[in-house]
């Protein structure tokens, strides 16, 4: 249960951040609906944000390991 709670909290934080970052990147002037190019942009932005998350996560893990080896 604790594991699930953390997984859910993690996913929610990711969704919140992506919504904010991708709105900023893709919606210059909010219109009466999301047009198809905005939808495409949001979908791509979301994929890139998750790519970035994975890269950052890997870089951070490797750094922690290096610091441990140096100690």
């Amino acid at each position: 249960q604790v594991k699930q709670q953390i997984a859910v909290a993690n996913a929610q934080e990711l969704l919140t951040k992506m919504t904010e970052k991708c709105f900023k990147k893709c919606i210059n002037k909010p219109g009466t609906s999301l047009d198809s190019s905005e939808q495409k942009c949001v979908a791509m932005c979301m994929d890139r944000y998750m790519d970035s998350w994975n890269l950052v996560s890997k870089a951070y893990s490797m750094r922690i390991q290096r610091e441990r080896t140096n100690m």
Binding site: A11, L14, L15, M18, T19, E20, C22, F23, C26, I27, K29, P30, G31, T32, S33, L34, E38, Q39, V42, A43, M46
Partner: protein, 75 residues
């Protein structure tokens, strides 16, 4: 039992208000440039659309995320 219901309703109101503060913070920066004697109609439209599009983006991202999860779970 009535107390529980009362507390739940109040909690929902608090969440609703917190959400409005967030939307207003975000959409103010997006839409409001000058602050004159009243909000002009262009700014008003922008604010209203900003809330609706923000929710659209949030739903789009949440649904797509759920699909990706299901795919990666091999369902």
């Amino acid at each position: 039992k009535e107390l529980q219901e009362f507390l739940m309703v109040e909690k929902q109101k608090a969440q609703f208000n917190a959400q409005i503060h967030e939307f207003n913070d975000f959409c103010w920066d997006k839409c409001v440039e000058k602050t004159g004697n009243k909000l002009d109609s262009k700014t008003e439209t922008c604010l209203t659309n900003c809330v609706d599009r923000f929710i659209d983006v949030s739903l789009l991202i949440t649904n797509r995320f759920a699909q990706l999860l299901q795919k990666s779970a091999g369902v």
